[in-house]
């Protein structure tokens, strides 16, 4: 069946037939269909566009993004960067985007951990563990996320007020105003220490890579962990000490009707995070389970024949292979978590949808407001899928 046996005359492309102006010609039919479909879609869009332009003119709504530089005047309770109601709409929307990113990133990390645990638990040999895990998955997946969010928010609001707050240990208060806990007073030295920590990880990675390259060259194994500890743990401490070792803890205390000082997790954020994490974990658990089941039974048996324990089999043999099956559906679950965080608007967490919605109500700039929401989510979706495609390509099985 190799190329040599094929008569070279058949390997030539068929000669290009001249176009015949007839319905019987496939290419003519294709061109007509395309013109027709594009024409219809184009007409519909043109009609919608001209209506919109006319309506905007009649209602005297100025289009454009000029409103972004006006003073917003909308209060935002939670902000990662500093924000005052006197700031511009642009800054308000940026705060919204950062809030969306905050809940999405924390949610993705927690949902992955919880989902993987539950997925593995579903395959446990212990009857009770696997049944509880499947019960969780069945129930969580069959309830609307919005319902779950409202439920958690109601539970949060049902907590006692600040004066009767749960007070498990010194400085920790759980009330309907959220979770208060002591916080470090943040100073420049801490930022420097975090930077040093990240630098330490990068340096360790580089060092490990060169150590492995040297081992490949001469066969001598090299110890990486002393350098790793020195770089990852030692470097930040040294930096922090060099900058004067500031260490002031801010303790929360009840003043009047609310708490002062310390850090706070708002009930809105907590409800949204709990809802998103528990819901997405149900889906991730199924993905993980399917991925593990997709690994050939022979791999399990071979690993057991080598004398590995159950945990080691899972960690060294099965999970790395299962990851290839898991990554693509996991990506779409991450994407849906990021998109589902838009439900925050229903429970009053001020994410980008909520702030853009307030903005469009205040300014009347409906088209711009919705365009901003869509642009933000398209950017997030595309970045996650680009990153995951890159990662997927990296771990893909190299085949001939």
């Amino acid at each position: 069946m190799s190329d040599a046996t094929v008569d070279p005359r058949f390997r030539r492309k068929p000669p290009k037939r001249p176009l015949r102006l007839s319905w019987a010609d496939e290419r003519i039919r294709g061109i007509v269909w395309q013109i027709l479909v594009v024409g219809v879609v184009g007409t519909i869009f043109y009609w919608l566009w001209s209506n919109t332009a006319h309506n905007l003119e009649v209602r005297r709504i100025a289009t454009g993004f000029g409103f972004l530089n006006r003073e917003a005047g909308l209060p935002i309770a939670e902000h990662v960067i500093s924000y005052e109601p006197t700031d511009t709409y642009l800054r308000a929307l940026t705060v919204g985007v950062l809030n969306t990113l905050k809940v999405s990133i924390v949610g993705i990390v927690l949902a992955t951990i919880l989902g993987t645990t539950i997925g593995i638990a579903r395959l446990s040999k212990n009857f009770l563990v696997s049944k509880i895990a499947s019960f969780y998955v069945e129930v969580i997946r069959d309830l609307p996320l919005l319902l779950q969010l409202l439920f958690w928010y109601t539970v949060m609001q049902g907590l006692p007020g600040p004066r009767q707050a749960f007070h498990p240990t010194e400085g920790v208060f759980l009330s309907n105003r959220g979770l208060r806990f002591p916080a470090l007073e943040w100073e420049g030295a801490h930022t420097a220490a975090v930077v040093a920590f990240i630098a330490g990880i990068v340096l360790t990675w580089l060092y490990g890579r060169s150590a492995r390259a040297k081992q490949m060259a001469d066969g001598q194994p090299r110890r990486v962990w002393p350098a790793a500890i020195a770089l990852i743990a030692g470097l930040p401490v040294v930096v922090w000490l060099a900058m004067g070792a500031p260490w002031t803890i801010e303790w929360p205390a009840l003043r009047g009707f609310n708490f002062r000082g310390g850090a706070n997790v708002s009930p809105e954020f907590a409800a949204l995070l709990i809802g998103l994490v528990t819901y997405t974990a149900g889906f991730i658990a199924e993905v993980v389970r399917a991925g593990i089941l997709a690994v050939n039974q022979g791999q399990w048996e071979a690993a057991q024949a080598l004398g590995l324990r159950h945990g080691s089999v899972l960690r060294l043999i099965v999970l790395p292979q299962a990851l290839r099956v898991i990554i693509p559906p996991l990506t779409s679950n991450y994407l849906s978590l990021a998109k589902n965080s838009s439900l925050a608007v229903a429970i009053g967490y001020q994410d980008i949808v909520s702030i853009a919605n307030t903005t469009l109500n205040q300014t009347g700039q409906a088209i711009e407001g919705i365009a901003i929401i869509m642009a933000v989510y398209l950017t997030i979706s595309l970045s996650i899928s680009l990153f995951m495609n890159w990662y997927n390509a990296r771990i893909a099985l190299v085949e001939r």
Binding site: P144, L147, T154, V353, M374
Partner: protein, 380 residues
């Protein structure tokens, strides 16, 4: 034979009788194998068993033993002091007893509630009929047409002596079922066309379909619903207006269409290439090939993921709450706005959640049964 045994016993008279082998069948063996197979397993079983018993006892206490099932109503205002005195130790099911009609049917005229009730039954009957493989042929189309007409007559009224009920007064479960059913009924054909378009050789059509699918899938449903509620009026010529429910319905159809299209495309891609080539070799036209050879096989391949997507959309219809359409969840949320019932959200959401759970659980069990049924040929 008996000699040999006797001799063997005689040769070693002091042999202690050995224990019988450990049972590998029966309930005790099952418990040992599945609950106490090692010290870790035993510890986990005991811990989980304790937690389960604690939480089940706690739940039964809350939901049944300490619960209050009804409260007196004075001058149309429910007296909920007895519920409040529980301080969360027991459920206040009185809110469900009192408000279930409102949660299920919204602001539909009270005396006419039998009409939306029949509508819900009709919807369920329609789902059951559509789920039976015996009806998977052209008869399904007239069945759907008749059912949907009946549902329309019952909801609107105005004929056969039924009083007219404007659409603004509809609410509750019928709205959820209408949004889900019509959404899927229109999104499914749309998704097939889009999936075919995405696999087409015609570049312009392919680009349009790819753009549609990727743009819709990249944004959350809420942004489309906002678009339907805020931006859509700007799209239409002056004086022409479409009501809010229909606008949300269009948004849901467009959204569901994009997701279903990807599922259908999966089926089209999974079909062996030989099927396409054989159909071409028979001289079938594109639509004959698609309708007679490709789609019947491709759709069968993707029925389980299709049902899973349906479940997703059934749940997603609850998002219309955010633009203020009166579906089941909105009705539940509105029921506890009344001062007397404030603070009993948990009970209401448990009730509403149970309704969603029944529908979704039925669909998911059906999907699993169907999957085993359809894969019978490949099972060994």
């Amino acid at each position: 034979m008996s000699d040999i045994t006797l001799n063997a016993a005689a040769a070693n008279p002091e042999a202690t009788p050995r224990n019988p082998p450990v049972a590998t069948t029966g309930p005790i063996a099952w418990v040992r194998e599945n609950l106490f197979s090692g010290w870790l397993s035993t510890a986990v079983t005991l811990l989980l068993g304790y937690l389960i018993i604690r939480s089940v006892v706690g739940f039964v206490d809350w939901a049944f033993i300490n619960a209050i099932w009804s409260v007196p109503v004075v001058n149309g205002v429910a007296q909920t002091q007895s519920c409040r005195e529980l301080h969360g130790a027991g459920a206040c099911w009185a809110v469900v007893t009192e408000k279930h009609r409102f949660m299920l049917f919204g602001t539909y005229p009270y005396d006419e509630h039998w009409r939306p009730a029949i509508v819900c039954v009709l919807f369920v009957a329609l789902y059951i009929v559509s789920a039976m493989r015996r009806f998977w042929n052209w008869t399904l189309i007239p069945i759907w047409a008749v059912m949907l007409t009946l549902i329309g007559i019952l909801m609107w009224g105005g004929v056969f002596g039924l009083s007219y009920v404007p659409q603004e007064r509809w609410g509750g479960l019928p709205i959820t079922l209408i949004l889900a059913t019509f959404g899927l009924a229109f999104a499914f054909p749309l998704s097939i066309l889009v999936a075919l378009g995405r696999r087409s050789n015609l570049p312009a059509i392919k680009v349009l379909c790819v753009l549609y699918v990727e743009l819709i899938r990249g944004v959350p449903l809420i942004s489309l619903l906002f678009m339907a509620s805020v931006m859509f009026p700007l799209f239409l010529p002056e004086g022409m207006n479409i009501d809010k429910l229909l606008r949300a319905q269009i948004a849901i159809i467009l959204f569901a269409g994009a997701y279903l299209a990807e599922v259908v495309r999966g089926g089209l891609q999974a079909l062996p290439k030989g099927q396409y080539e054989a159909a071409d070799a028979m001289g079938l036209t594109y639509w004959q090939k698609t309708g007679l050879i490709i789609l019947p096989q491709a759709l069968r391949l993707v029925i389980p993921p299709l049902v899973n997507t349906f479940i997703g959309f059934f749940k997603d219809t609850s998002l219309v709450l955010i633009i203020g359409i009166f579906d089941l969840l909105t009705a539940g949320k509105t029921a506890i706005v009344e001062p007397a019932w404030q603070g009993f959200g948990v009970e209401v959401y448990v009730f509403v959640g149970l309704i969603y759970l029944v529908f979704c659980f039925a669909m998911s069990k059906y999907s699993q049964a169907l999957e085993t049924d359809l894969n019978r040929h490949s099972r060994r």
